[in-house]
């Protein structure tokens, strides 16, 4: 028994050094040497100041911007210090109210858009930080953004296309549009 206790404590200590200290340190060093930008959060810079991460979404509700997924984080949407989904069940009245509110907000800013609204635009993402929307959800908003920015729809579509990524290797995952990078590019455009 005593022998087991001694071996347990010693083994725990040694395993802690190997798997809890050496292993994360080796990964950190390799990551810093080979993928320095990605290892620290894929930050985006403008004039030397960090203005976001290409992997983390930001909240948008100004009609001149493309809007991302609804976010259920608290106390504000897209709180990247406390990720969270809504965790509402499929029949929860709170879910249906939230979806209805997002549908109405979209309709209010673009009342005569005849298309039906793509589901990802009115449902909260799992992380609350989803940086993407589907190409269909971007297409739904092209009319509104073009009008607000006095651009033609095809000009806006070209921006969307530049920030759309297809399936990885052609088959993996789903096509998606990076909302923050798209909006940054639109803002940078010479009027």
């Amino acid at each position: 028994m005593l022998q087991h206790i001694r071996a347990s404590l010693m083994a725990l200590l040694l395993f802690t050094v190997v798997t809890g200290v050496l292993y994360p340190l080796v990964v950190t060093c390799v990551a810093a040497a080979v993928f320095p930008t990605k290892a620290t959060g894929s930050l985006l810079y403008r004039n030397g100041t960090p203005i976001g991460s290409s992997l983390i979404g930001q909240p948008f509700d100004d009609p001149k911007y493309f809007w991302g997924r609804p976010s259920a984080t608290t106390p504000m949407p897209y709180n990247a210090a406390a990720s969270s989904g809504s965790n509402l069940g499929p029949l929860n009245p709170a879910l249906l109210d939230a979806v209805k509110a997002h549908v109405e907000a979209l309709k209010r800013t673009d009342p005569d858009n005849p298309a039906s609204i793509p589901v990802d635009l009115v449902t909260a993402s799992g992380s609350g930080l989803d940086p993407h929307i589907s190409p269909a959800a971007a297409e739904y908003q092209v009319r509104r953004v073009a009008r607000m920015r006095s651009m033609t729809e095809d000009q806006v579509r070209a921006f969307v296309a530049a920030h759309t990524r297809g399936r990885q290797f052609g088959f993996l995952g789903e096509p998606c549009v990076n909302v923050l990078q798209l909006n940054l590019a639109l803002d940078m455009r010479k009027p």
């Binding site: 206790i5 725990l12 959060g41 894929s42 990247a80 029949l91 803002d187």
Partner: protein, 585 residues
Amino acid sequence: MTNNGFIQIAIYLGVLLLLVKPLGTYMARVYEGKSIGLDRVLGPLERLMYRLCGVRADQEMTWKSYAVALLIFNFAGLLAVYLLQRTQAMLPLNPAQMPAVSPDSSFNTAVSFATNTNWQGYGGESTMSYLTQMLGLTVQNFLSAATGMAVLVALIRGLARRSAQTIGNCWVDLTRSTLYILLPLSLVLAVVLVSQGVVQTFEPYHTVSLLQPAKDANGALVTEQTLAVGPAASQVAIKQLGTNGGGFFNVNSAHPLENPTPLSNFLEMLSILLIPAALCYTFGRMVGDTRQGWVVLAAMTIVLVGLLVPCVVLEQAGNPALKPLGVNQTALDTPPQLTQSGGNMQGKEVRFGIVNSAIWATATTAASNGSVNSMHDSYTPIGGLVPMWLIQLGEVILGGVGSGLYGMLAFVIIAVFIAGLMVGRTPEYLGKKIEAFEMKMASLAVLVPCTAVLVGTAVAVSLPQGASSIRDPGPHGFSEVLYAFSSAGNNNGSAFAGLSANTPFYNLALGLAMLVARYWTIIPVLAIAGSLAAKRTVPIGAGTLPTHTPLFVVLLIAVVVVVGALTFIPALALGPIVEHLMLPR
């Protein structure tokens, strides 16, 4: 289901099954003490560890000694994680200045990580310091996984040996599992994950300015965003490979910095089932008949695919309650503009869509992993029933590393016993007579987790402390509690996370369920190992039921499914099944 959906499922299962034989062969060599190449590099470290621990690698243990050593070792790990959380405010590597975790939450998390459950009552980026994540959680990710593998190897030795008193040395099995299997795989996976954008840094959280300022819940203006980062990749790799599942961040692998791209998602999903599947082949090799391993893997795979398909189909069909709101849930695949995965996207990420979310939900609950890349709580009723029932089947459909296969071998013992009753012969498995002691122990291993789930749920919904945490009205609220106890009572760790489970009641009740489920499976399984090792083999006769045939696959599936159905359908009827009937037509 879309064509691309079929392709993604086929490639996932195809790659998984292709890796079974090479990895399974390698692991068999690790446990048989043969030369594996890597031991030339890590051999000195392995021998140094034995010397410092005062362990003689060639000294084998009886099953009782093996069990006692494992339990003490697990308890020491549990205590270390508890103390780390309670003292993290005074320790280094805490850039976000996290305070000490509450005693009940620390207990729950310590139990959870020591038992390979990795239920998260806390939010990683808002609770744990970098030091706790590394020294506490990452270490237990390795060691709880190694514990499961050690118990399995001991059981395999029990089946393979004859007239033996010992079942191996637990320190050797733990050390070799960690150094030669879990560590090298994790190193490679972690670096590949960083290449996709998973963070791995000791820098403090970043602050960036928002492009469009937003308002918080009180109407105050927010102009900045705090980006939580940390040494995530090293932890994510082992939490997937060791079927642990405790995320670095609160939303686990739905978080873009924990799972940024479809490729990172594919590799993380593959890692969930990789070792559990390959261990089936290891088992076959070590008992000298690889067909026995393939039979078990075939039974597991058939149930997995059988449940994966309805999950994908129902999630793709979408939430009928949203139809009247003018929302388009149809899958569209006309590039460039008209493309969307459609379906029930609440709680799912666009880059994964429906198919990769549903594959993950199925794989993570078939295995006792419990990591998520979408929120199971927001699944359609039957889409969410699939992960819940996969957990309730006892985590034997591939299951946890080691624990899945030793759980399944308990079902195998029950299956040969039932077959023996049908033909009126003494049941045998791999030449060993299955007698009353083995049957009692196998029944314990199968029934104790079931009891923990049902009794736990009944107590929780009856007490105000349990019922007050329920947030969803109607049957879905009951489903949340049932899922929580299913998850803890089978060491899975995923959740219907709408339940506010970080309360003293749930922290203690779920902690107890995890302890009972883990160790009251491990002890009976080691007892079976010891008892079988001591037996002589009986020659194969005309009355022996062959256990390498398709017939046996069917029999094994039937036993698993019938036990799972009889035990849980009444409870499921009160939750997801009623909810399904309430959906608008």
